[in-house]
Amino acid sequence: MAGPASANRASPPPVASATDVTKVFIRGSEPGRIGRLLGRSAPPTVTAVDDVSIEIETGEIVGLSGPSGSGKSTLLHLLAGLEVPTEGTVRFQGRDVASLSNRQRTRLRLEHVGIVFQHFHLLESLSARANVALPLVELGVGRRTRRQRAETLLERVGLGDRTGHRPGELSGGEQQRVAIARALVTDPTLVVADEPTGELDTDTGRRVLEEFERATDDRAIVLASHDEETLAISDRVVKLHDGRVVDDPRPDEKGVVDHRSGERTVAEFHE
């Protein structure tokens, strides 16, 4: 079981942080000029994340829990730079994500963020090795190095003998491990994973989680999940409900967990 790694450091700068962040989604499109003339009203809105503040630090695994619609995925996407907040500030290594252009945010994700989706989303036509190596093309890494690095990572996740296989020839667990290798290939400072074990059986899910635990060296990992076993590898679990943080157990300098809402402790989760 991973301990609260951040407790062992003085005051490391957060990898990513959200301050008073609100994210509102519009359902449908805004009425145009003609639509307004015809009396079309503004479409309904949904507040997915409501005034949330959170800090993610290097070396820690942070779990995001909560029921469906609680805002876990949206918060994950905000921290990864896939979304920009409607209000508040999301910073990545001190940079305000909203101030970056679309192209800069794409570059930021390429260089600093690894993303693991529930449905793996691998390119079906490419081999496991090519899927993993693809992001390195954008970074200008040479062909041989790309190949080497992809094979090393695939070996690390236990797929050394499956590098030439296409996703369709791999099991769900193997595909997810390829996705993890792809997320790690650029050596990102933050890895976000949305329901990474959602489509896997218990044993396969456990093996995938072991990969995450091994991957924390110099980076932070944020996992969004319903599954308590998945969240159990986290150093802390942030609970969300209706878009708000209802529990964010922050360890103090002495390593004692401080439950802001006092609902449940990390220990309780792990037990």
Partner: protein, 414 residues
């Protein structure tokens, strides 16, 4: 140094885009095959319909060119196809004398009246069908005979007395022969009415495609005087037009101007002017043909664009994931442009390859059913146009769809 590194990086991107293109195409073989077939059909539709349009115009031009005449004289009407009621409007009356007068003009070698009439034709079994009969004073290179021979001129006219020997001979085209079930040497009955037709037995002496091509319908060719007699019009001697052949050293424009001054009541036209006049009379048919060609090209473009857009759109989720991972839009667009070029090229090439045999098939079908030869005229320009549209539109639509997908926030597609 920095520029060199940038070039190397770009080359790596292009190579990767190429690898993605090839792998995506190879992986989705059914989709690739369907897209290629779809585009090939679009190209085929474009080339064949454009070929039909070309065929109409070219056949018309050839008809007038092969008539081997320099000028055409009409009395206003230029119609050479049956009118709505099934008959022709031969408005150039006293055609023999007019022809003779024109023949006397300086620079004119000869002037020959041509008349088209709808007649009843039967084989003697009591049943009659309507055909177009062409009356000519005979001879010369105007009537091309492929089997048998041409009747020996128009002796029955006998300087307008209609007392000369009747030839009682006709030349028909292959379609007429097929429809009537007759060949060279057989006899048929021809007349402007049932009664005349029953009495007027003639012998088929030759097979000629000349007037069938000109009129686009099965035709019986006979001496002009015998046609006038068979249709009861010897007193007015009407003709559809008079064709004029000039001396070798005569200038067509000068002779045309002179004839217009001498015969202001008639229209004197060159081959091209006559063709234009005929085409103008058939403006509705031409408009329909042009509309058909435009629609075919439009439909071909739309089909090609939609197919390629669909092929790219089906990959939107995979591309969204790559965008989420930080892969640049440039690499993705390069990849889909590669797919557009590949599918457009393969589909275009297949479409072009199928065009010639399909055109041949259509020609044979049209020839067998309606007796119209050379329906589809494929030219290198049409084939190249079809191919370029497939590649160009395919690439463009793939690029545009790829660009739109790259502009869409990845999460909206996941």
């Amino acid at each position: 140094m920095e520029a060199g590194r940038a070039i190397v990086r770009w080359l790596a991107r292009l190579r990767t885009a190429g690898e993605i293109t090839v792998s995506q195409l190879r992986h989705h073989k059914l989709r690739l095959g369907m897209a290629i077939v779809g585009i090939a059909l679009a190209v085929l539709a474009m080339t064949l319909l454009a070929g039909v349009g070309m065929g109409v115009v070219e056949t018309g031009e050839q008809q007038f060119e092969t008539a081997d005449r320099d000028l055409w004289v009409t009395a206003g009407e230029t119609r050479i196809t049956p009118v709505g009621g099934g008959g022709f409007e031969n408005t150039l009356y006293d055609s023999r004398n007019v022809s003779a007068a024109i023949s006397e003009h300086e620079g004119v070698r000869n002037a020959v009246p041509l008349a088209f009439e709808t007649v009843y034709v039967g084989t003697g079994d009591g049943e009659f069908r309507t055909f177009v009969a062409t009356g000519t004073t005979g001879g010369g290179s105007t009537v091309q005979v492929t089997d048998g021979e041409l009747f020996p001129g128009d002796p029955h006219y006998a300087d307008g007395t209609y007392e000369g020997d009747r030839t009682n001979e006709v030349v028909i085209d292959e379609e007429t022969a097929r429809q009537l079930g007759v060949d060279v040497g057989d006899t048929i009955h021809v007349g402007g009415s049932y009664a005349v037709a029953r009495e007027n037995e003639v012998t088929v002496v030759g097979i000629s495609p000349t007037f069938e091509r000109m009129l686009g319908t099965p035709t019986v060719v006979m001496p002009l005087s015998e046609l006038h007699q068979a249709t009861g019009t010897t007193h007015t001697e009407p003709a559809t037009f008079i064709t004029v052949t000039l001396e070798d050293d005569a200038d067509p424009e000068t002779v045309q101007q002179d004839l217009e001054e001498t015969h202001p009541e008639y229209e004197i036209r060159t081959n091209q002017e006559q063709l234009d006049a005929v085409l103008q009379e058939q403006v509705l048919v031409l408009a329909a043909g042009v509309t058909l060609v435009i629609l075919a090209v439009g439909a071909g473009i739309a089909l090609t664009a939609n197919l390629l857009a669909l092929v790219v759109y089906q990959q939107r989720r995979a591309f969204a994931v790559l965008r989420a991972q930080g892969i640049s839009a440039t690499l993705l667009i390069a990849s889909v442009v590669g797919q557009g070029i590949a599918i457009g090229t393969l589909g275009g090439a297949l479409g072009v390859a199928l065009s010639s045999p399909s055109a041949h098939l259509l020609d044979r079908l049209a020839s067998a059913v309606v007796g119209f030869d050379g329906l589809v005229q494929l030219s290198p320009t049409i084939l190249a146009g079809g191919f370029l549209i497939a590649v160009g539109i395919g690439t463009l639509s793939a690029a545009l769809t790829g660009w739109r997908i790259s502009r869409t926030p990845p999460l909206e597609l996941l």
